[in-house]
């Protein structure tokens, strides 16, 4: 305790005093001082140190921060928000099949959910820390205390504010002096010289920064609404123009100048010989076969397979019942397409009396508007469809004699 600090404190107007400052040389002394000030019942005071001092929180009586709860809430809302928007965009706003997955495929949404959880939590943590600490603080009365500069190096300080209800210039000064500070307890005056007005340079600087930040967005917006005759700008020319021959291009190296080379005449890939006329083309000795090839087993299983394939490839046009009233036909009719030809009714006589080999060829090569399906359906499945088609035709043209005896009696 020194006389000078007291006399200074007393001689000034009370409202001009910001508080009393004490300086310590070690963190242990700071903690000891903090304990005494807390016990004395002060509430508006703080300690300052160059690094985090373990144990200062309980010594000062600082309650645990609520920041973790704020961060937890932010993380939860980030996660649920991310999930919600992915659900909404992919099932409500713009349903779109990706890779054959369901519209709402949670595994695909997890990375974004995870990232947004972390992002919301981290940003909230950063902003929450600043706000709870009332930062940034452009100026403080302590800035004008010369020796306070060492708080960033090797000194520890305590400041009791004059606004504390228990503050009394003499008693508070005595209390601080009794905690063993280095040098005198210093009175910190309110800053009356600094202005509250933000300097012009700062305002203009911020304005320029904000305007500059708008430039890329303005250019992008301009590009979206204007046209340009110049060729596209290539950011990665190596990728856009690769040194290789693409299909259907010229290559001067070869005599015929084709970049795509033909197979050597007579080449047959492994398993592609297809010399079984019956199985692959539905023909026996040059005419359409009336029987199924021996590879096709006439069984419930083949029938089920045929029904399944028929459902996938045939029903869109021919309809489930084969009457030629499928969804594609109905849609084409509703659009009143003049060129549309109705798909054949599979039950018409011409088709019922066709041989299985001919039906097989129809599926393979197509009929009128109908394209060939040889590329999409393998031969065994085409035969299975023919088998199912025979059963379907039979179902629409059955006579009483076709029914099992028990059922027939029931009808008679």
């Amino acid at each position: 305790m020194t006389d000078s600090s007291e006399s200074v404190a007393v001689s000034k107007e009370p409202e001009q005093v910001h508080g009393l400052l004490a300086e310590y040389e070690t963190p242990q002394k700071l903690i000891a001082a903090a304990r005494r000030i807390k016990e004395a019942g002060y509430s508006r005071w703080d300690s300052f140190s160059p690094f985090p001092v373990h144990g200062i929180d309980p010594a000062m009586g600082i309650r645990p921060t609520i920041l973790p709860w704020i961060v937890f809430a932010a993380g939860l809302s980030g996660g649920t928000g991310a999930l919600f928007f992915q659900w909404w965009t992919s099932t409500q706003d713009y349903p779109w099949i990706v890779s054959g997955k369901p519209f709402w495929s949670i595994p695909a949404n997890i990375p974004i959910t995870f990232e947004l959880t972390v992002l919301a939590a981290a940003l909230t943590c950063f902003a929450g820390m600043l706000i709870l600490n009332k930062l940034p603080l452009p100026s403080h009365p302590l800035d004008r205390i010369r020796r306070f500069a060492r708080v960033t190096n090797d000194r520890f300080f305590v400041l009791i504010q004059a606004s504390d209800p228990k503050f009394d210039a003499r008693q508070t000064s005595e209390l601080l002096a009794a905690t063993g500070p280095r040098g005198a307890v210093e009175t910190v005056m309110e800053d009356t010289q600094s202005s509250n007005v933000v300097p012009r340079g700062v305002t203009f600087g911020l304005l320029i920064l904000v305007s500059a930040a708008a430039v890329p967005f303005s250019l992008a917006a301009l590009a979206r609404v204007s046209t340009n005759t110049k060729p596209k700008f290539h950011i990665v020319p190596d990728m856009d123009f690769q040194q290789k021959y693409k299909p259907q291009r010229k290559n001067a190296f070869f005599e015929d100048q084709r970049a795509m080379r033909l197979d050597v005449a007579g080449t047959v890939a492994v398993g592609e010989l297809k010399d079984d006329d019956h199985f692959y083309r539905g023909k026996l000795n040059g005419t359409f076969a009336k029987t199924f090839p021996p590879q096709i087993e006439i069984s419930e299983q083949t029938m089920a397979r045929g029904q399944d394939r028929f459902g996938i490839y045939c029903t869109p046009c021919h309809g489930v019942d084969g009457a030629g009233q499928g969804m594609v036909h109905q849609r084409a009719r509703s659009l009143m397409q003049g060129t549309w030809v109705q798909p054949s009714d599979l039950h018409m006589e011409a088709l019922r009396y066709k041989s299985v080999g001919e039906l097989f060829e129809g599926i393979s090569k197509g009929v009128r508007n109908m394209p060939g399906y040889a590329r999409q359906i393998d031969p065994a499945d085409r035969w299975a469809i023919v088998l199912y088609l025979r059963a379907l035709q039979r179902s629409q043209a059955a006579s009483l004699a076709d029914l099992p005896e028990a059922e027939r009696k029931g009808l008679e």
């Binding site: 690094f51 373990h54 144990g55």
Partner: protein, 403 residues
């Protein structure tokens, strides 16, 4: 910063005779359970081998978790962990026992059993193009070479950390700390490689046609979780005997809890990354592995892992109060150790049948290897200091505080 009044080492830092009871009961549990498992499993050797493989991978994961813990503490020159490091050193130094236990897996392979590993079956390998292609790596001779390398390295590293640390108790000084820090850096690289390939050899190759580049790190995540959980429980048991009661406090438990929390997330991150890549690409060579785990009763186990290996402990371990309280931390450590067993069971067993064949043989194998490992660890803890008193960073560790 330190609080001089709190930085105090316990007077009693050795267990002496106080651990005899636990040692004997663990030994009885170990020998008894293993004998019971063999007796019960005699009539189905394929089942017994699988049950034993799960149990073995479990005890290996604890030992590897402890070894990793010691290595990374030295590597990072960690101060907080000095007071808890000796317990991990004890567990890591028992790698010889784990190597001995591994004979239960490797023995049948040497005797010609192909129950577990299809790549040991010459006829199958000759027939299957992919297996034949892989046989340059997956063959018994090369496997034995790798197995010797894995365990040779782990035994050497565990013993080196333990021996030099105990020697430092007597000699003091910082030279030994420097030596250990020097060997920890290259050892960490070798550790990562050996653990990865061991997990591939012993577990991933059960389904020799399947492959995942994340498999090693998935097993590693489980190792670290099991290591920290066991470390925490071991320390609590020691404290229940009146030792280390002032040296090890809630600050150290808090850090152990943080690592359990972090690696719960890490495990989920790795598990999901492995799953999502395979789910998204949807290539049959890869998806069948998950398909088997989503079939029948395995679906429930998979869902259980998602909930009980990640979601529940994630929220459970989040609060600092939970991590600083011994009882709640013990609860979560036990929880993690149980669900870690389910995780390994889920890795080893599914074969496409959809059945979850958990039986008494599995539990007995598990208790058996755990009993033996526990007994040997308790035995080793009996005679030596439970804290590395010669470590120059001891004072910092005693005075450690979470900010």
């Amino acid at each position: 910063m330190s609080h001089p009044e709190e930085a105090r080492l316990d007077d009693a830092i050795t267990l002496d005779a106080d651990s005899g009871g636990l040692f004997r009961s663990l030994l009885i549990v170990g020998v008894g359970s293993l004998s019971g498992a063999v007796l019960l499993g005699m009539n189905d050797l394929a089942k017994l081998q699988r049950a034993y493989l799960v149990a073995f991978m479990y005890v290996l994961s604890i030992a590897l978790g402890a070894l990793w813990f010691v290595t990374i503490q030295h590597l990072t020159n960690a101060k907080w962990s000095v007071v808890v490091r000796r317990v991990a050193e004890i567990m890591a130094s028992n790698m010889w026992l784990v190597a001995l236990l591994s004979l239960g897996v490797v023995g049948p392979m040497l005797l010609g059993s192909t129950d577990l590993y299809v790549w040991l079956d010459h006829a199958r390998v000759e027939q299957d193009h992919v297996l034949h292609h892989k046989s340059a790596y997956l063959n018994i001779q090369f496997f034995i070479v790798r197995w010797v390398l894995y365990f040779g390295f782990w035994i050497w590293l565990g013993r080196r950390f333990f021996r030099l640390s105990v020697q430092q108790d007597r000699d003091g000084g910082s030279e030994i700390s420097t030596t250990l820090r020097r060997i920890s850096a290259p050892s960490m690289i070798v550790f990562a490689l050996t653990l990865t390939f061991c997990a591939i050899d012993l577990v991933m190759s059960l389904d020799a046609l399947w492959f995942s580049t994340m498999f090693g790190v998935y097993y590693f995540a489980g190792c670290v979780l099991a290591g920290y959980s066991t470390l925490g429980l071991f320390l609590m048991w020691i404290q229940s005997k009146g030792r280390l009661t002032t040296s090890v406090n809630s600050e150290h438990y808090h850090d152990i809890g943080k690592m359990m929390f972090a690696f719960t997330v890490f495990w989920a991150y790795i598990a999901f990354s492995q799953f999502m890549l395979i789910w998204y690409a949807d290539v049959p060579e890869e998806t069948h592995w998950y398909h088997w785990r989503f079939e029948g009763s395995w679906k429930v186990v998979s869902a259980l892992l998602l909930v009980a290996h990640f979601a529940v402990p994630f929220f459970g371990l989040m609060s600092r109060h939970v991590k600083r309280n011994k009882r709640s931390l013990a609860f979560w450590a036990v929880w993690i150790l149980v669900i870690h067993y389910v995780d390994l069971f889920w890795l080893v067993y599914p074969n496409g049948s959809g059945e979850v064949p958990l039986s008494a043989v599995d539990i007995l194998c598990w208790l058996g290897v755990l009993g033996l490992f526990g007994a040997v660890s308790v035995r080793r803890a009996q005679k030596i200091n439970l804290i590395p008193t010669g470590d120059p960073r001891l004072a910092d560790s005693l005075a450690f505080e979470n900010a």
